[in-house]
Point group: D2
Chain length 142, copies 4
């Protein structure tokens, strides 16, 4: 099965004094992949700033298996599904041309408005979620 894929280069500002990507930046990269998925599914109209709704993170779990360095091209794959009131994304990350995973991640979200109150998920968003494939055993390292 083919997962949604997003890619970006590691910037110099993303590295730390160990000359590898600082761990907090992984959450930024996974967020970029999430937003790219929303754009690919044409869900912008259901989200801030067009709608008063944003995917607030209520939990995140990141595993770090191998380091990444300046200018490495990162490939992030993801899957997403609804779990009751939550929306759950799972991701893995590798460097272009190298098959080994360098990180995996799971983030859980609720849709909230500007007052940070939970709101109903837009119908278009729900429909998109229902169409997404999900593999319970993917990624394996999580």
């Amino acid at each position: 099965m083919k997962h949604f894929e997003y890619s970006r280069r590691v910037g110099f500002c993303d590295t730390d004094a160990m000359a590898v990507v600082h761990h907090a930046n992984y959450l930024r990269f996974y967020e970029e992949a999430r937003v790219a998925w929303m754009r690919a599914r044409e869900l912008q109209e259901t989200h801030f700033p067009i709608a008063d709704a944003a995917l607030a993170v209520i939990e995140s779990k990141v595993l770090h298996l191998r380091p990444a360095g300046f200018d490495d091209k990162l490939i992030i794959r993801l899957q997403v599904r609804r779990e009751g009131l939550k929306i759950v994304f799972r991701y893995d990350m590798h460097i272009e041309g190298k098959p080994e995973l360098i990180s995996t991640c799971e983030t859980s979200h609720v849709m909230v408005n500007k007052s940070m109150k939970a709101v109903r998920i837009a119908k278009k968003f729900l429909t998109a979620l229902e169409r997404e494939p999900w593999t319970e055993t993917w990624p394996l390292s999580l």
Copy 2:
């Protein structure tokens, strides 16, 4: 029991378009607390840049219970212990003057050198770890 405590204000740059602290910044704040603990235990000589050893993050898990906003004074408490080759920190976070937790976190680490290879934990660091109290049930929400 009294946990080690670290405090810092939320900067404007730490907020996002929802006017709350962006979730990736929590890992930066928890790292600051970890470093403050190392300084309080006088472990600087066992860590980069004095020693060729740094606490690499191999796993992190963050829960977000309530938002924090610009200029809020965050209080982070932590405990730490050794688990085999790993060093595990647990944290909670609240806003000064408000008892409710806004976030909890667990990070797991290995000590690595500049080549990102695992290295022995310095004796002084181990001794410090052995003196730290640990409450298995703290913080409750994890």
Copy 3:
């Protein structure tokens, strides 16, 4: 003359692969000093989130004279004055215990509301500005 002073440690996440503070982070540190100055002058009620007004940056200039590294204690001094519709801050930065400047900075601001429209500066803020000393030749390297 004594300038307003703010101090903070360099975090691990603030460093880059050259093992020094990444240049973009200086603007974050200078912002923290600016906010600390506002707090010291009790101007919170004139600024976001209490008032619909924020000090938007319209221009910044930063000089880098020497590097700073992980856990260095940075001391930032600043002065501020009104120049017509603009509010101008000047800063210098050194490491505790070392007299040499490592950076100087000038930032220019206008007060804007949530719609990013220029708004009148609150009277209390103006009064505070009028009381601040200003040395045209400080800091010298700018």
Copy 4:
């Protein structure tokens, strides 16, 4: 004349509580454009991590003319030339589909090694610099 061009989306983490890109992030975006230029000119072998040389920032000046928001597609154009021992980049930035500039920037650099000492600029890098066009009056707002 056609300047080198780099484009990227604004991430959610790049915004602040005013719902616009935080000013410190512009330096990160301009750095990305600089790195993309180096890659386009095939200069990677002259720079960290392949060579012990990196373009340290010694001065930056950023003007902010209009705000940018979440998911805006930013277009950065740049020119670069040698000025004695310094390498100077000038940039402008606009949002795709909107001709108005939102920011301009100038950064000055010296090539340094891991000990932060100035080093000779590699011949290949110099040759690339000599081929770059330069318009003294561009961008106008600087």
